[in-house]
Symmetry: D2
Subunit: 346 residues, 4 copies
């Protein structure tokens, strides 16, 4: 069985394992206060072009989202996000368990618009009963989104502007950030994200690390005592260096970008085949997730050799599914899948 169902089916890139072995017997301070975390943070600040940023390392995405949001909001404040957003759908209410409502906006493609944000904010402050309604204080977006789509630089800048005009924090979930940065047509750089946001994270788990997410904070209110919140929420790893070592390895020789490139090019190759076969998509995008709408019969046949995710039924005979490539996807597996698809569809 070949797994195309997600981008965390394998372990880590070999260079990461090598580095873990190499440093294994070193004795370091715990809880992220070691030299590797410090060096990795320096490297990330350099790549973001801003030495005033704070960088912290956490283990997983849900943990990162709940820690950042809990550190940012007061009890009566909520976070705006797409109905399809990870925090709204796939974190078992982690944000609510920290006491905060997710204020949802409808979305077809995983993105929300500057108009939606402005409208929600205006309708809140203009409501006579606004004290009876959760106060919006943060905007959460994902880049790429959960549906693989990307905000353009112009869109990000507009959202950033409307947030700062209205004193809303802007938070970008970058669980798959690498796969966005090197996608065809993308015009957003790491520096742009650092510039436009109050806080964001760079995902490691899905881009070649064993695990790990790097939180990058520009906003002073969110920076304050962030490590207390990390500890309280169970997100401060005892052997913090494991995170520092991984992110240092990913970023010191451009490995993060190379691994992302591989995944996106594999996805492009798959997309080429679907396009040739005139297969429609649930959502079109250029990153490592592909959402073709296929006949159920074809899906049944594919299931004998491949694992992929079921999205939803489109009509009686067609369903949308997700194929996911990653830093670890093998070229021969993609070639085989392309062949099988072509055979089945033509």
């Amino acid at each position: 069985m070949i797994y195309f169902n997600n981008d965390y089916s394998e372990g880590a890139h070999p260079k990461i394992l090598e580095k873990l072995i190499e440093t294994n017997r070193e004795q370091t301070s715990g809880y992220g206060q070691d030299e590797y975390c410090q060096k990795a943070a320096e490297k990330i600040k350099e790549l973001c072009g801003d030495q005033a940023l704070d960088v912290h390392f956490l283990v997983g995405g849900t943990q990162t989202n709940l820690t950042v949001i809990a550190a940012s909001l007061r009890t009566y404040q909520g976070v705006i996000g797409a109905e399809t957003s990870h925090i709204n759908v796939h974190e078992t209410g982690a944000i609510e368990a920290c006491g905060h409502k997710v204020l949802t906006l409808p979305s077809e493609d995983g993105k929300i618009t500057v108009e939606q944000i402005e409208n929600l904010y205006q309708s809140h402050i203009n409501d006579e009963s606004h004290e009876h309604i959760v106060c919006p204080k943060m905007v959460y977006i994902s880049q790429p989104t959960e549906l693989g789509t990307l905000y353009t630089k112009a869109e990000l800048q507009e959202i950033s502007n409307v947030c700062h005009k209205n004193k809303l924090f802007l938070y970008v979930d970058g669980a798959r950030l690498g796969y966005g940065l090197v996608a065809k047509g993308n015009d957003v750089t790491l520096r742009d994200i650092a510039e436009f946001t109050d806080v964001f994270y760079i995902g490691g788990t899905k881009v070649g690390a064993l695990f790990g997410e790097a939180v990058v904070i520009k906003n002073e209110f969110i920076k304050e005592d962030f490590r207390y919140v990390m500890k309280q929420k169970g997100g401060m790893l005892a052997k913090g260096r494991l995170l520092g070592i991984q992110f240092l390895t990913l970023f010191e020789n451009n490995l993060y970008m190379e691994l992302s490139e591989h995944a996106d090019r594999m996805a492009d190759a798959l997309r080429e085949t679907f396009d040739e076969c005139k297969i429609p998509y649930l959502v079109e995008n250029t990153t490592n997730q592909i959402f073709p709408i296929l006949p159920d019969k074809v899906l049944d046949a594919l299931r004998e050799k491949y694992t992929f995710s079921y999205m939803n039924r489109v009509d009686e005979k067609y369903s949308a599914v997700r194929f996911c490539t990653s830093w670890a996807t093998k070229t021969e597996d993609v070639e085989q899948l392309k062949k099988d698809i072509k055979n089945m569809l033509t």
Copy 2:
């Protein structure tokens, strides 16, 4: 200025004040453990036709909702409700602040259907990733709804069945319960509600009391240690007898129903005029809230003498508003308003 903007603009029915004065110098136990609370609870159990119920008295509606829901759910469980439901919209995230997500269902008229509930439940348990999604455990409905509509007995029974089949608690918010029980066309009795639900509350604040809501619990899990939760959430009134006295006065001589009758008949009278003028409604209903769609010019004129609530813009020249009657609405005020509307609209 005459207030039609809500049903809590005045104090309390005079009989309640009399009773408070009469008992003022008596010394009683605190925290709801006095004789008045006991008698009021007995009376309510009798009217519900079930001596095994538990009855507790709280001060306000948001407090009641958050206390009941916090007492019912474990950390990973959520409550299903209409998008328009009070807990979702007008409680500043009180439920989320207790750690629980409100799982919303779309609704035009404030009601949700048995199919919506069943579909949400089935799609949850059939989702491979259901452990990543908040687990639905309670259904919250209002009778009447926030838009004044009513569930029929058949609808309530069906919802009750689907809840119990799926081990979901059914909770009815009865902030305006009296105005539903005596509405034209209503076929649901207090006994029905006691029979079909796990827990519900009878609203006093909006139906003649100074304040107060009576929670009625049938479910054993929710009953357990409920007073601990009341205390923890700040909902246990020191001079609890104030609640017992009010509910005893409301229920021992049918006063609650009489006050509700008055409000609904006043609303019926207003509705008659709107109907005569062929005014459409945002939502049609038979309880004490009326939602006419009126020309903005007319609304401006009405605002000089009357207070009412703005709902939303319907088109360039028309808006939906809310007129609310109550136990305290004066017949002459309604007559005046009817005249003014007729004059303006014809």
Copy 3:
């Protein structure tokens, strides 16, 4: 049976009931946005000598404590209080349910010292692992304390100084504030409390109101959006004017002080008898709570006519108990109790 077990056994002072009747049919805005709340707030600000204060009205003490503390703290911060403090012992974990730890200091008499606060703060910031420990951000004291004792003006000023030096909020729980202000030997005024604290509350429930506590806020961070937190925590009364009317009545003609005087003089009279009989106290104080240590036999005899609170066993034959006077205590009841005590003890 005559109740000396607490100070909330009766209803309210007659003037309050009169005012409620007088205003009963008036129509006002809800949720504390009426004229009575505004006037009561103005009066309280005047008495505190500071027009820049914010004043809000809530129903009960636990609700007030949890609302103030939730509005003040970020997720990783805690509140310092005596082991005997109400928030630590008698609120069913209301503060923890809002996510915050109560950092306790030992206390024999209900008071904590400036040295204890400074030591806790210093030991926190000097701890290498301080990020693994709850961050102290607020100091909670009661005036009078739960054991009826009082801070002097000098003590309050010192505590205020150490709090502000260390950026800790100072919060005073004044559930029985009146009984402290008029106690023999007290040198603290309402103005002093307003000056020294960031936030405090003036208790109404135990001092002549049906219910109600007035929160007075000086600190800008705590002021911000306080009404959102009130609503979220279920503490915003629909008919908010009931609170405004009560506090206006209590404060516009010095009624609050007169009622407090009565209670304290009744307690002084009781104390006189205990002193004559050379009865020791669990804690000595000059407010409306008296904690004599009496032979169990005497207590059994007293129980036939009087209700009082049991505190703890002192030795095989003696126990500490609490007698509580209030604005409603009858002189003849105190005279009778004095006689009975004298007879039993001599």
Copy 4:
């Protein structure tokens, strides 16, 4: 500099790294639903002698404690623990952030007694105002404790009995469980712990793993939907197999016990030297933590070559410190430290 300050200064035992490399390119299901987690769980159940247990894998200790406790308690319930317990002191209020109070018992040596538990429980249920006090529902103990001491089998059984008599859950924090199981004089086995508790965890982070804690649940209420709580609290690792692989490696060939043996024997060797020099201890114990009381001058000298933890000042010239050995401690480092201590102290 040689680190004796904790037991998580190095990476992992080489066998664990080997196994991670060996399996690195395998594709598995995520979130702990892979074959390695299943096999590791089977192995642990076998060693516990109970196939009906549930086993889950989390990343760190604070995360594990907060997840287990949040899964076990209803909103008004609290957990009993020693004042010195990790959940009370060193988790930045993680338990309170989940809404639950830690009900503390004084302790000199990290242990609590069956009498303390019974007294707290009895004083709770016998208190007239028990509904105003947090309801005790779980007992938390650590084996070994934070001060390295151990409960005997008889003590554990008694605590288990009093818990079950009073319907309290018993939870054992086994962050350093291995170092307890092989300590001199210990008479408690893994099977005993599985038998006596409702839930416990086997620590990996401090005993040879890169990270990881294995939660073992016997109680049906706590078992129910535990994975939902793991996900909500950010404790469900995407590449869950990393935990399964580590625990399988630790347990399939007795490696966990061997590593624990090494650490304890290293500690015994150090203890021997302290004993020879007649050095007193803050707390005596037989596990991998040693708490000698040493002259400040000696400590200053030791600090030039060694890192260790400062505990507290004992008098003007003496302080208590902590030396920690681990699976990774080198024999030559211990020999050197023994020599240096002898030289300095004689």
